[in-house]
Symmetry: C2
Subunit: 191 residues, 2 copies
């Protein structure tokens, strides 16, 4: 839980009482590789802080997976579009490795906002960052070329190339796995 | 300015000192029909509260306007993707009528967060609502059929049909203006 407290303290001040209450509001959760933190059709009940592991976010479009985001250690994960209005999710969040998460429920998050002095500030700043990341991810998904998306992937997640499968990288880039090496070659030849 | 104060008070409590300071932080701004609140390439410097008028949000895709959202009275307008990281906007926000706005700068918004007791809470709740609205608008833009988008438009903005041009409705629905009546007929025949 130390990582989560340090992360929160990098944004707001916490006294020891607040630290203690945060440790009770967030509950540990383990996911096996392939498990879902949130699956299409479910109502999202938690926001998670990823301590260990990798998640991919994807949408199912006519039977085809479109991966639009990855998350890794020390990031918040969740789908506010489902979590806030308590609506069924159209998005999937899946563990690509065995993962460790601390998660908070909707009700406990309201308690966090009320009981931590700068809790609202923390919530505002986190949601701003998630908003920007999500919008960038989605607009790149719909308008970016495969070459651009491959370059973005390398830049944003330099270590993930070794951790996740070619299949999932290709799903993010928007091509078949067998086309990835062609794209790598094209980018390499331009440099 | 009364509308803005009432809107804020519908979400948080304000005392008279806070009300007074908010009246100084937000500045009036008028736009003529066709003017831009934010144009592609500009860095967004303000978030606005629309008191009178209609805005459309659009992206220019290879020379074609794609309208993905409208805003009308008593809504906040702006592009957080440009405003927060101080990055050039890829989106346009244009007045479709002569409009009256109260706008706040980035620096004054930080002052608002610090000086209004529940300012952070207000900011968190507004950005949550904008986040959800933007995501819904964009995902419908990229995946919704014209029929679905026309129905959404009618539902979300029942009064805008009379206020804005067929051209802008068609741009939102994603068809040429001359195809709108065909879509209306198809929806009508299904009912």
């Amino acid at each position: 839980m130390e990582e989560l407290i340090l992360f929160i303290q990098s944004i707001i001040d916490l006294d020891s009482e607040e630290t203690y209450s945060i440790q009770k509001l967030f509950k540990p959760k383990s996911l096996k590789k392939g498990d879902f933190f949130l699956a299409e059709g479910q109502v999202s009940k938690h926001i998670g802080f990823l301590v260990k592991g990798v998640m991919r976010y994807y949408i199912n479009h006519d039977g085809e997976d479109k991966t639009y985001e990855f998350a890794q250690e020390n990031e918040f994960i969740g789908n506010y579009e489902s979590f806030l209005p308590k609506a069924p999710s159209v998005k999937n969040i899946q563990a690509l490795e065995d993962s460790e998460i601390f998660q908070i429920s909707y009700e406990d998050l309201q308690l966090f906002y009320r009981s931590v002095r700068q809790g609202e500030r923390f919530g505002r700043i986190v949601i701003e960052a998630v908003f920007i990341k999500t919008l960038k991810g989605l607009s790149s998904l719909y308008t970016g070329t495969p070459e651009l998306r491959y370059e973005e992937f390398i830049k944003k997640h330099p270590d993930l190339q070794q951790r996740i499968s070619q299949y999932h990288i290709a799903s993010y880039v928007g091509v078949k796995p067998q086309s990835l090496s062609r794209i790598r070659k094209r980018i390499f030849n331009q440099k």
